[in-house]
Amino acid sequence: MNAVPLGHWLLLTTALFGVGAAGVLLRRNVMIVLMSVELMLNAVNIALVAAARAHGQIEGQLFVFFSLTVAAAEVAVGLALVVAIWRSLGRTDVDDVSVMHG
């Protein structure tokens, strides 16, 4: 055996995706939640590159290129919102920022 089949790569990335999702669901701090989302996106990107390798064609790598750019744009906006909420509140726990209910 001198290469790794696609299925193993997908299992690895599914596990990584699960770890990221766990961070999202279990942690209440906005910064950790955002970092966990980055983990999930990282898992997606590895899976895309692995699929591109397994199929020997390049679209998957382009997808990653675009999704990296999108992630950068999203992080910028998300962190701006975090900064804004911190200014008006002084806290960044997901539940503390909530005054709307129902």
């Binding site: 770890v19 970092m35 390049i58 290129f65 999108v70 701006a80």
Partner: protein, 177 residues
């Protein structure tokens, strides 16, 4: 066992460990450092997968730019240690159960998928090189390429607008800076 297989298992295990350490960190700076480690390990996996260009972009954009952005905000907000409270009783157990179920289901689905056994084919020399990516980007994919440039512009303006210091009332000239 070839170097590729060895790298996959070793780096893959480290990847999961660093991710786990990240989500367990109580200090946001520690979490950010674990995340850098995770991103750099990911770049190694991209090299294993014959994607040198993506590996370079990963290091520059993720481990570089995005990381700095995170650390910058962490420092701006002050690195206060975080609580581990559970707002709704049983919420954590439910979430863990749901997650384990989801990941298990997805893993079985992936393992049984017809494409799972697919072995990587031999490649031509320039697969994943900057030339190959650039050629595809500026021919078939020029629309999405232009489009993400607009997205970056929108994100830039939006982030500056939302996070800018000072009052947002009528005259931006008086309050800039």
């Amino acid at each position: 066992m070839s170097a590729e297989v060895l790298l996959f298992y070793v780096v893959g295990a480290l990847l999961l460990l660093s991710a786990g350490a990240m989500i367990r960190s109580n200090d946001p700076v520690h979490a950010a450092l674990w995340m850098v480690g995770n991103f750099l390990l990911t770049a190694v996996l991209y090299l294993v997968l014959q994607a040198p260009f993506i590996a370079a972009v990963q290091v520059i954009v993720y481990a570089g730019a995005i990381m700095v952005l995170f650390l910058f905000v962490v420092m701006l907000l002050g690195a206060q240690p975080m609580t581990r409270s559970e707002p709704i009783a049983g919420h954590r157990a439910t979430a863990v159960f749901g997650l384990v179920a989801l990941v298990a289901l997805l893993s079985v689905a992936v393992a049984r998928a017809p494409a799972a056994g697919r072995m990587p084919p031999p490649l031509t020399g320039d697969f994943g090189s900057p030339e190959a990516i650039g050629q595809a980007l500026f021919t078939d994919w020029v629309l999405p390429f232009e489009w993400v440039s607009l997205m970056l512009l929108v994100a830039l303006i939006g982030a500056v607008m939302i996070a800018r210091f000072g009052s947002q009332s009528e005259d931006p000239e008086e309050t800039s800076g």
